[in-house]
């Protein structure tokens, strides 16, 4: 069992081990949905919610079904299946009980099914040998980290609308550069907390 306390995991996965900026997972939706702060907040919140739930569900699946049956190699497929199924379910529940929330987050849910950060969180949870509470904390931290990164990016992009970007760098190129710079900034947190 991993001895790190859940609180440390939570903070570390937001700052030092940010899943987006240190792991570079989930880049596609990060680049696609960061044009406006509002959209970014929506996607970030949806990712956080789904990540907490699926990491916990996958934890249960892995440790109570796959490990006892020695079927660890199935983890990849089953994790993806659980994530997809869960997202579908959430979409339906949301649509039924909170149309407002559905309008705010609903359109992002299909994007989340294929978000590699979510699968990444589930796999990290396995590799790092977290227990249930640690997994939930890691999922929450990972999601919040994603939210933080994408909102930062959206803020910068909104500002960038007014600036004169050199022609060869316009579009994706400058986004990649900015992502790199933000990632380097986050490296400044490294050493503050160490997490395995």
């Amino acid at each position: 069992m991993n001895p790190t306390s859940p609180m440390v995991i939570l903070v570390a996965s937001i700052l030092t081990n940010n899943i987006l900026l240190a792991g570079f997972l989930g880049m596609c939706s990060f680049l696609a949905c960061s044009t406006k702060i509002e959209t970014a907040v929506g996607l970030g919140t949806a990712v956080t919610f789904v990540m907490v739930c699926t990491t916990t569900l996958n934890y249960l699946l892995y440790h109570y079904v796959l490990v006892p049956l020695e079927l660890e190699f199935l983890a990849f497929i089953l994790f993806i299946a659980v994530i997809a199924g869960f997202v579908q379910l959430v979409e339906m529940v949301m649509e039924r009980f909170s149309p407002k929330l559905y309008h705010a987050l609903g359109i992002f849910l299909p994007l989340i099914t294929v978000n590699c950060a979510i699968l990444g969180a589930a796999l990290f949870m396995v590799i790092r040998n977290y227990n249930g509470i640690q997994s939930a904390a890691f999922g929450l931290g990972g999601g919040l980290g994603f939210l933080l990164a994408i909102v930062l990016m959206a803020g910068l992009r909104e500002k960038m609308g007014y600036s004169n970007v050199p022609a060869p760098l316009r579009g994706t190129a400058v986004l990649m550069l900015i992502t790199g710079v933000i990632a380097m900034t986050f490296m400044g947190f490294a050493g503050m907390i160490t997490m395995q």
Binding site: L61, V65, L69, E70, L71, L74, A81, L89, H103, I107
Partner: protein, 156 residues
């Protein structure tokens, strides 16, 4: 050998379980019953199963709406005016609609989900074409040929 069987059993079991949960959820959560679609203020009306999108419902009942992307919300051709029951405008639609469009209730038919009775004004097919000609949103080099029987249509 046993491990393969076991793996198959677990995978099938999990998928089956999720499929059942989703089916039950669909039955109980997103069941809207039958809804009325009222076209052009009562000119035509028909009932469809709720839950689908407006574009599919219109096509099913032989009202053709141009939809070159097949209902993915990418082409922006499937504009109709929804006068009642369309729900809120979705962020996927805004890029294709001008402010005037939004003010008169224009929606992308493929993005409107039928949850209740919907009243919709469908543009006349010729209107759509003349609109495309005017704004130049079709391939100008292709040869277009059509004959119009009956009354004269102006505006081309």
């Amino acid at each position: 050998m046993t491990i393969i069987l076991l793996a198959m059993a677990v995978t099938t079991g999990l998928f089956l379980g999720m499929a059942v949960i989703l089916l039950v959820a669909e039955r109980h959560l997103v069941n809207y019953g039958t809804c009325q679609i009222i076209v052009n203020g009562g000119e035509q009306r028909f009932s469809v199963e709720g839950g689908g999108n407006l574009l599919a419902a219109l096509l099913e009942n032989n009202i053709s709406i141009p939809a070159s992307c097949g209902g993915k919300g990418m082409c922006g051709y499937c504009k109709v005016r929804v006068t009642a029951g369309g729900g809120a405008l979705l962020p996927t639609e805004t890029p294709f609609l001008s402010r005037r469009d939004i003010a008169i209730g224009t929606r992308l038919a493929c993005q409107v989900k039928i949850r209740q009775d919907v009243s919709v004004n469908v543009p006349d097919f010729l209107d759509v074409i003349s609109d495309m000609v005017r704004t130049g949103t079709f391939d100008k080099h292709a040869k277009w040929r059509f004959s119009i029987k009956g009354e004269e249509h102006e505006g081309f």
